[in-house]
Chain length 241, copies 2
Amino acid sequence: MSDGLAPAPLYARVERIITGRIADRTWPPGHMLPSETELAAELGVSQGTVRRALDALYRRHVVERRQGRGTFVAQHTSERALFHFFHLTDLDGGKMAPTSRVLRLAREPATATEAQRLGLKTGAAVIRIVRVRLLRGESRVAETITLPAARFRGFHLPVGEEMQDELYVHYQRHHGVSVARAEDALAAEAASAEAAHLLGVTAGAPLLRVERVACDLSGDPVEWRVSLVDTAALRYRVLLE
Amino acid sequence: MSDGLAPAPLYARVERIITGRIADRTWPPGHMLPSETELAAELGVSQGTVRRALDALYRRHVVERRQGRGTFVAQHTSERALFHFFHLTDLDGGKMAPTSRVLRLAREPATATEAQRLGLKTGAAVIRIVRVRLLRGESRVAETITLPAARFRGFHLPVGEEMQDELYVHYQRHHGVSVARAEDALAAEAASAEAAHLLGVTAGAPLLRVERVACDLSGDPVEWRVSLVDTAALRYRVLLE
DNA sequence: AAGTGGTCTAGACCACCGT
DNA sequence: CGGTGGTCTAGACCACTTT
């Protein structure tokens, strides 16, 4: 519980302790946490203080709580990934579940940009994935994804075939990597020849470019992706409040 | 405190009561609320329950709380508007305060689209504003804003001159309209001749199109805007968590 | 019936702000 | 100093889930 500087409130320290145990997989995804009473006794604080910390983690989607059952480390499900990390809808705001087709998957040295975004040294090994995502059966998104190879040993995906699009579930299940936070940076750009070919649009057509850095619970970057979206029939939606 | 259906938790009812008094301007922006103790006594609940409601309102930016001073109805400041409702940054994520120049301001009948977005009848009177927003002195955003005239009587802005860009502050100060929530829908599109002219790009250049509906505390739409952004040197940033 | 989270209360004590 | 919000505790009672 050493803190270096200012003495943080108790509930904040409790929150960090619990977060730490989740991040280091003492309590892996899906695991049931000790009850509020047990945690309070173990940490030497009142139940109310533990509750306050757990409520904060619940609001951040780090744990799930169900009355009568217990508190569980949040697991990525397709629904959760879709809801929190997929912001494309049809023109009326209707949700759609995408599928995807991997075109290329290789282990290669990182470019300067990739290394910078992922906090690696240039030339460090990365997994690079090129894929197309389909919405209502149509190719709408061309995507390049870069992963630090050190955290994704033995990474593989079926290449060439259409599959359910559950990459974050895959990261968690097969590599113990839970995406907790991401930042998207959006711009408009003209379609390159390749992008145009992949998406079935004319070269030079306006595309939405989405660059994302995704981080785990500890705040370390674990994924860098560039998505090119044909927004003829799609919208990227953002709620501000 | 009548509730029609299920008996909501006390703290939720307290939250709604307080929200109501803010929405109907019993407590206008900047006003100091009664202390937790007073509210608890008035509403016949414990201080802890009032606190829980106020904490929720604080997280939603509806009130501001300062230790030793009191709880105040949130006021739109340029900083808050910039932080919550302005998502454009430079390429490195650096924040910038925009200025703006109004090109046209008129009271006109609503188009079908405008009426639909604002929950009005087609042909209802709206204020329509066309303006350009400048970042670091360069025209980067061309914007059309539509307001329901009924809620913005006597609306005026200086036309033609460069000014501080504080529209939401203006709505609140001069028309008692507080924007509490907004939804943006983004797409890429090719620049029209007018947009190209306003932004100093070539016609057909890719622009980021941002459509926004902004709502007040009661959830009623109060503004509809379409922004066309030259993203050559800008990014629209979104934090997901 | 036993165990879990969810709500609500009452009260102590601290930190901060204004006068 | 008195008043405000911020933290922390202790305990009662309820609603839900599982055995």
